[in-house]
């Protein structure tokens, strides 16, 4: 049986347990039909030209998570930003871990999707927001059909969340191969502020494939600062589908740090629905071995007088493969749009590959849109300069990598996180420079 068929028959089994009287049930049924019709994307589709899921889909995955696996805090401590100064929503193999989490209902909701789906007090929010910005592509639809667990975050109007929220998905080795589908819903009320860090982390060498969907709604004047840390084990693959809906005067920023994993596909979509929105999409990708990371971004300028800023830096060693497909759509009404996209790549070894494809579709006539894409090697003159000061080749390269990634790193607004990312980069390139940037 193909993985697709297995999923379809699992859905039938799942249906028995579902909320029959809820409108959500229809949403699921519609979604599974979309998935059934479209199936998994293939390289024939333009958006998947450089990334194949074929080898991943051949594996025998277990689909439904079992009971909670206990993990001791000390074994996973390193993956948390902070012991105490964050809210945490933690899942182990897709199941909520109350032990590792620190949720709240005190003036804001940081809790679980499963609770939000089943408790009547959350019903208005679920009905107003759930699956309202997510696209109906096959992978998102698959996640929607199976929606069961994930983070549910609701920040009421004018609330400034005083500490970051961490969403962490651990996977353990208790199943041979695992298919996980977390579903997050984040609603940020008018003039509310929030910082969120999301991480997927495999704790074993067993295969795991995650198809994650996150919907973020920023109500007017809201501020959302979101960080994705992708530094997973080499047996872990991730398809991340993130959708951000921005009302007027909102600022939304997403930073993606892609250092690890086997195959990662980031579908990051911004929809600017009101005037004076500001969107930032930045990323640092550092790959080696046979790693494959595909950044597929969309900024959809629907309303006038908005800005978007994209800056993706990639460093590719050995036979790793990078893809950057950045699409900007400026609708006819989106006059005075200021859209900027930059994508710079360094190929460290001859066998490394980067496929870069900027796509601009502009239907308004009074806009400022620019994009720049570079692919190159290390600057020999810069290396010579550093080496002539006594800095060895390896360290000199590392210094240039830091310098290259710096424009992204310096816009990280959580100091502790910046330090962590510095360390991850140092580990990744195997050089410690003895200072933080």
């Amino acid at each position: 049986m193909s993985f697709k068929d297995k999923l379809l028959s699992s859905y039938i089994a799942l249906e028995d347990y579902l909320e029959f009287d809820s409108p959500l049930h229809d949403v699921r049924n519609t979604a599974i039909k979309i998935f059934e019709e479209k199936g998994f994307p293939t390289k024939k589709e333009e958006a998947w030209k450089y990334t194949s899921l074929n080898s991943l889909l051949k594996k025998e995955y277990s689909i439904f998570p079992k009971v909670e696996n206990a993990i001791e805090f000390k074994t996973v401590k390193e993956y948390f930003l902070h012991d105490i100064d964050t809210y945490k929503v933690v899942f182990i193999d897709g199941v909520y871990s109350s032990f590792l989490s620190e949720t709240t209902h005190d003036s804001l909701d940081v809790c679980l999707m499963s609770a939000a789906l089943n408790k009547s007090k959350y019903k208005p929010v679920i009905e107003a927001y759930f699956n309202k910005v997510a696209k109906s592509d096959s992978l998102t639809a698959l996640n929607t059909a199976f929606t069961k667990e994930g983070a549910y975050i609701h920040i009421p109007a004018h609330k400034e969340v005083e500490k970051p929220i961490e969403i962490i998905n651990f996977s353990t080795g208790s199943e041979a191969a695992m298919f996980l589908q977390p579903r997050n819903l984040i609603v940020v009320g008018e003039n509310a502020h929030v910082q969120i860090i999301e991480r997927h982390q495999s704790l074993s060498s067993n295969e795991v494939l995650t198809n994650s969907v996150t919907e973020i709604f920023a109500e007017k004047r809201a501020y959302v600062d979101y960080y994705k840390i992708q530094n997973d084990a080499e047996t872990a693959s991730l398809i991340d589908n993130t959708y951000i809906s921005q009302e007027r005067d909102t600022i939304c920023r997403v930073h993606t740090f892609a250092f690890g994993g086997n195959l990662v596909r980031n579908n990051l979509n911004f929809y600017q629905k009101g005037e004076h929105c500001d969107s930032t999409l930045k990323g640092i990708t550092i790959l080696e071995g046979k790693q494959h990371v595909d950044h597929n971004t969309l900024v959809h300028h629907i309303a006038p007088n908005c800005e978007s800023h994209q800056d993706y830096k990639g460093l590719f060693a050995e036979s790793s493969v990078g893809v950057f497909n950045g699409k900007i759509i400026v609708e006819k009404d989106a006059q005075k749009t200021d859209a900027f996209q930059q994508n710079n790549n360094i190929l460290i070894d001859d066998k490394a590959t980067i496929n870069a494809k900027p796509q601009l579709e502009i239907f308004a006539d009074d806009v400022k849109c620019s994009h720049g894409c570079t692919i190159g090697q290390f600057d020999e003159d810069a290396l010579f300069y550093l080496r002539s000061r006594g800095i060895g080749l390896k360290e000199a390269r590392a210094l240039l990598m830091y310098a290259f990634a710096n424009t992204v790193l310096e816009s990280v607004k959580i100091p502790e996180l910046k330090v962590r990312i510095n360390k991850l980069i140092a580990n990744k390139i195997g050089v410690s420079l003895g200072f933080e940037l």
Binding site: F384, Y385, S388, G390, A396, Y402, F435
Partner: protein, 249 residues
């Protein structure tokens, strides 16, 4: 200290340097002058070990050791310093962090521990004061957005911190106004002693009013065609290079 013997070097099979002979002893200041394209900067880069250039004949020794095959960092560890004509911008790495890394990498290569932070800070303060460098300047990203003068002053600051045995100043005077030139020259003179040497590469005599050379060499078409004392520099300033060309014919 530095001996260059019958050196031929160049790019892609074409020799830019065509038989250089030069000896610089400890305590000396040498100036290399010459018209554009004569090979001055190539000579500086080859001595510092830029890999882009192929040495096709001859050799370079430093303190009686053949360094022709050494990496740039190994030459730096032995005490050779090149002040660049066009210093490279390194965003995100502050002047202070850069110089710390350079010093500690050099110490590591010599099997020494990192320089203690307090000692480093003291040294940075002392050298920055000597070159009239503002503290704020030190926390800026290396060379990023620096004016021409700031870049050159920063090069001499690095030289002061690294305390090389041989400093090669490649067109250090270009882009400097007279006040900046005096500060830079003054810094070089303060660092000068009987155990180290300076090789000044310049197009103009102006810098040599402040860094006074013991010897002046004229480089033309990849060869040293004339050597003399500082008076030769004045003569070149006055008469240009054409008379030497005529003399050679």
């Amino acid at each position: 200290m530095l001996k260059i013997k019958d050196l031929y070097a160049g790019l892609e099979g074409k020799d830019i340097l065509q038989g250089i002979n030069l000896e610089v002893k400890a305590g000396e200041v040498h100036a290399i002058m010459g018209p554009n394209g004569s090979g001055k900067s190539t000579l500086a880069s080859v001595v510092a070990g830029k890999e882009e250039f192929d040495v096709t004949r001859g050799y370079i020794t430093f303190e009686n050791e053949d360094i022709s095959e050494l990496d740039p960092e190994e030459r730096a560890h032995k005490g050779i310093f090149l002040s660049f004509q066009y210093p490279i911008e390194i965003p995100g790495v502050s002047v202070t962090n850069f110089i710390k890394t350079a010093i500690n990498e050099t110490r590591k290569a010599k099997g020494k521990e990192d320089m203690p932070a307090s000692e480093m800070l003291k040294m940075i303060k002392e050298k920055a004061d000597m070159l009239e460098i503002d503290r704020k300047f030190l926390s800026r990203s290396l060379n990023e957005g620096f004016s021409g003068g700031e870049k050159k002053r920063n090069e001499i600051f690095q030289m002061a911190m690294l305390e090389p045995k041989l400093a090669i100043l490649d067109e250090t005077d270009s882009g400097l106004d007279i006040d900046a030139l005096k500060i830079v020259a003054n810094g070089v003179n303060k660092l000068k002693n009987k155990d180290n040497a300076v090789l000044v590469i310049t197009h103009y005599q102006r810098l040599l009013d402040y860094i006074v050379p013991d010897f002046v060499h004229v480089l033309m078409n990849g060869k040293i065609v004339k050597s003399g004392t500082k008076e030769l520099a004045y003569e070149l300033e006055e008469k240009g290079y054409d008379w030497i060309k005529e003399e050679l014919v």
